[in-house]
Every structure is written in structure tokens, then in C-alpha cells.
């Protein structure tokens, strides 16, 4: 059994890399896979907070790489999902504390034991990004339906190709169905036309995500949330299932299309 290493990255900050990593990890674990999430954002760690495991950190990623602890000692098991583990980032160091080859070695050590190894990449295209991408078998690029985030995603996809980790897969996060319906938001089709990569997830903007992040309880565990369903669907696609994409009334009903046809003229 060899685990699959998946890196979640974006270029632009604040688009939801950590949320995607935490929820994808939780969803995969919920489906019965053994998962470890690794926070590669050294110096600005967040994944532990989103997963609600902050108060249990003893050792971190840099301790492993520098040999101050064994791999096992740094792994924190999630009490709600016994198949989910976290390796937190160091908060008092920076990206230069580890190298891409350290990450490759780490991933190779974990492959034997885990089904999925998720890396939460920092924003940017520098050392931290290269650390996170180096061990990847699959790269998920997260973007929002806004021009600047899509521009950065395009750059990142190019860099992922240059590192021969391509083709990257795309997750579009924080889609506001209401704005898409009004034609005020960059549509999914527009984004896909520009980026020309395979889509693995459409996540609607959902207040529950913020609530669950603050509470440290992944939104996938909330059966009623739409975003939770979207994350479960991403997990199933990552597992190789064919899952149809959610509709945000984008193509809507007949009446919707008529109103959309009329509206642009009125602006």
C-alpha cells in the first residue's frame, strides 16, 4: 500500500487553502481512509486551529526534520475522526527551516502507513510553495471567483507544470450563487476557459464554514451544510469517483435565463 501525496496550494492568500485541506482530510478520513494533514506554512500555522487541535501540539514539522523527535511523536490524532492525523508547522521558525528534499523524504516515510498525505501550502511562489509541491503526486489549486485569485491560480498552474507535477486540479471556493445568478460574479465557465485544467470542486460560500473554522470543527462533519457536501464531493473525486457537480442555478430555469438575458441591457 502506498499513500497518495496531495498538495493544496493557490498562490494568492486567503482563498481557502487551509479550509480545503482540513475539510478534504476530514472527509477522506470519514470515508474510512487513513489520512495525515501536514501544515507546510511554517511561521504562519493555521491548520491546527481549523482542525481544533491547537492545544495538543508538542512537536512540529521542523522538529521531525531536525531530528528532535520521531515522526510518531509529532502526529496528533483527531479525537472525532480516529483515522485523521495532523503534523503541525513550527510557529517560531520560517520557510527556510526545511528544504524540498526534506519534504520528499517525509512523504516517503508516511506513504507506507497512510492512504492520503495532504500538504497545506503557504501562499506565494517562493520556498514554502516549492517545499509543499516537491512531494506531491497530485496538486489541487484553490481559487475564488475573482480576477486576482484566478490570475494567481494561472501562475501557480504554470509553476506546477514547470515542476513536472502537473496537470494541476482546480477547486473553486466561495462561489456566491446569488451573485452568479445575477451575472455579477466571474462564472465557473469563464474561469475554466482561462485556466484550462480539470475541475475537482465547486464550493459555495457558506457561513457555516466560518463558524466551523472558529469552532475547530470541519464543516464536512456537518451533514446539512452545502459547503460540507461540496467538500465530501471533492473527497470522492479525489478517491476516483465520478460525481456530478453541484448546480448554483447558474444555468437555472427558463425564467432565470430570460431574466439574465434582459438584465445586462439594463445596466
Amino acid at each position: 500500500m502506498t499513500g497518495k501525496a496531495i498538495t493544496v496550494t493557490s498562490g494568492k492568500g486567503g482563498v481557502g487553502k487551509t479550509t480545503v485541506t482540513a475539510n478534504l482530510g476530514a472527509a477522506l478520513a470519514n470515508f474510512g481512509h487513513k489520512v495525515v494533514c501536514i501544515d507546510a506554512d511554517i511561521g504562519l500555522r493555521n491548520l491546527d486551529v481549523v482542525l481544533g487541535l491547537e492545544n495538543r501540539i508538542v512537536y512540529d514539522l521542523v522538529d521531525i526534520v531536525e531530528g528532535r523527535c520521531r515522526l510518531r511523536q509529532a502526529m496528533i490524532r483527531d479525537k472525532r475522526l480516529p483515522e485523521l492525523f495532523l503534523i503541525p508547522a513550527a510557529q517560531t521558525r520560517d520557510k527556510s527551516a526545511i528544504s524540498p528534499s526534506d519534504m520528499v523524504t517525509l512523504a516517503d516515510d508516511l506513504r507506507a502507513e497512510f492512504d492520503y498525505i495532504l500538504f497545506d501550502s503557504p501562499a506565494g511562489i517562493e520556498r514554502g510553495f516549492r517545499n509543499a509541491v516537491a512531494p506531491a503526486d497530485m496538486v489541487l489549486v484553490v481559487t475564488n471567483p475573482e480576477v486576482s485569485a484566478v490570475r494567481d491560480a494561472d501562475r501557480i498552474i504554470g509553476l506546477v507544470e514547470a515542476e513536472e507535477k502537473g496537470p494541476a486540479r482546480l477547486v473553486i471556493n466561495r462561489i456566491k450563487p446569488e451573485m452568479v445568478r445575477r451575472g455579477d460574479m466571474l462564472g465557473v465557465d469563464d474561469i475554466l476557459e482561462l485556466l484550462a485544467v480539470q475541475l475537482v470542486g465547486l464550493v459555495p460560500d457558506d457561513e457555516n464554514v466560518l463558524l466551523s473554522t472558529n469552532r475547530g470543527l470541519p464543516v464536512v462533519l456537518d451533514g446539512k451544510s452545502k459547503a460540507g457536501l461540496a467538500f465530501r464531493n471533492i473527497a470522492r473525486r479525489v478517491m476516483g469517483e465520478e460525481v456530478p457537480f453541484m448546480h448554483f442555478d447558474e444555468t437555472g430555469g427558463f425564467l432565470n435565463r430570460i431574466t439574465r438575458l434582459i438584465r445586462p441591457g439594463g445596466n
Partner: protein, 226 residues
């Protein structure tokens, strides 16, 4: 050592397969054979299969000379030996015969009144910087945030949405063509233009300088060219 040579017509001429033996023996046999049938084979284009023999450049030089004196053209030399293949390639000879039905092979270059260009068959994503001392042809999109800077013309078979600078060293005759010409910024020589808001669906367009102004026109196949 009676004739073990086989001669067979192929699409591009005649394929002569030599029998086993050293090159000296094969060579002798070949010359004899060609002399005896000179009238019949006159002027033919020849491909010669030498089997496993090793031919050095000098041997090949002698052979091509002899053949051309006799009125033959050697266009291919087929061999199992890599050394022979290399010598053949250094003489500009083909070392493989095109498979039946395959596209024709391009024999060298005929140098028309064209200029060489750089062909890029991929999409240029944000952050990609392509600079070339000549013309550039991109088969794919040029995304926003990517830039193409060329001394000559720029042709994009796809959507041009990044920054493009044609005639970057001052050539005011340079042009920019794209299937969807909507660059963030378009420069030709020292003129700079931005894309106006598009109405309707994209059409292939060509931009060039007219009296110092960048002018983009829809590609009209019926209109007379430049």
C-alpha cells in the same frame, strides 16, 4: 558471388538491398550491377540498404561520387549499424524509408523568401516571459500576466490576453495576429495600445501600425493583404 542484390521499386525511387558481406564486396557488386543495367536504371533515385556493414564517411563520399557520375541520385542509406547511420546523416541522406502511406518526408529546406520563427505549442500562463530575436508563433493561449516580446511579428493561434510587444527593437512594420486579440496591452515598436471593450464575439484580428497608431482590423479573407 553471383548477384545477391535485390532491386525493387518504391514510391520515392528504387530500393537496392545488398547481400551479406563486407562493404568492399558489396560495393564491388553494386557497381557491377548498376553498370550492367545502366541503360535500364538510368537517372534513378536510389535508396541503398547495406545491412550490417560499416561505412565510414570516406566510403560514403566515394559512393555518392561514383553514383552521381553514373547519373544516379542517392537519397537514402539504410543500415543496421549506428556508425553507418551517422555517416549517412552527415551526408544529408535519409536513414529510414517512409512507411507506405506515411506523410511525405521533407528533403532539406528549399529556403523560400521567408524568415525563420519560433514556434511555441503550449499555453503561456501568467508569469511566463517569452522573448525572441525574431518572429514568434504561439499555438495556444497567451493568458493575462504572461508576456511575449519579439523583434519581429507575433502570431497567436488562440486567445491573446497577456502583454505583447512586436517589433520590440523598433520595427514599425511588425504585426500582431490572434484568433482572439484582446491583450492587456499591445505594443508595436514604440506605440502602445490597450484593448477596447469588445462587442460581440471574438474574431481573428490583425494589429499593425498605421501612421504611428496601432490599428486592429478583423481578418477578412476577401480583403487584399497588406
Amino acid at each position: 558471388m553471383s548477384s545477391k542484390i535485390q532491386i525493387k521499386g518504391i514510391r520515392d525511387g528504387l530500393l537496392i538491398t545488398l547481400g551479406d558481406g563486407t562493404w568492399e564486396e558489396q560495393h564491388q557488386e553494386l557497381i557491377t550491377q548498376l553498370r550492367s543495367q545502366a541503360g535500364f536504371l538510368q537517372g534513378a533515385r536510389l535508396a541503398i540498404d547495406v545491412g550490417g556493414s560499416i561505412l565510414k564517411a570516406a566510403d560514403l563520399g566515394q559512393l555518392t561520387r561514383e553514383l552521381s557520375e553514373a547519373g544516379f541520385t542517392l537519397f537514402a542509406l539504410i543500415s543496421e549499424s549506428p556508425t553507418t547511420e551517422r555517416s549517412a546523416q552527415s551526408f544529408g541522406l535519409a536513414t529510414r524509408l517512409p512507411k507506405p502511406g506515411a506523410a511525405r518526408t521533407v528533403a532539406g529546406s528549399t529556403e523560400p523568401d521567408g524568415e525563420p520563427a519560433l514556434l511555441v505549442s503550449r499555453t503561456l500562463r501568467s508569469g511566463y516571459n517569452l522573448q525572441y530575436q525574431g518572429h514568434v508563433v504561439v499555438i495556444g493561449d497567451v493568458n493575462p500576466g504572461a508576456q511575449v516580446i519579439a523583434r519581429g511579428d507575433v502570431i497567436v493561434w488562440g486567445k491573446l490576453r497577456g502583454m505583447v510587444h512586436a517589433g520590440a527593437e523598433g520595427d514599425e512594420g511588425a504585426i500582431v495576429c490572434a484568433l482572439d486579440l484582446s491583450p492587456t496591452q499591445l505594443r508595436i515598436a514604440s506605440a502602445i495600445a490597450v484593448t477596447p471593450k469588445r462587442r460581440g464575439k471574438p474574431q481573428p484580428e490583425m494589429a499593425r501600425l498605421v501612421k504611428g497608431q496601432v490599428v486592429a482590423e478583423v481578418w477578412d479573407p476577401k480583403r487584399e493583404r497588406l
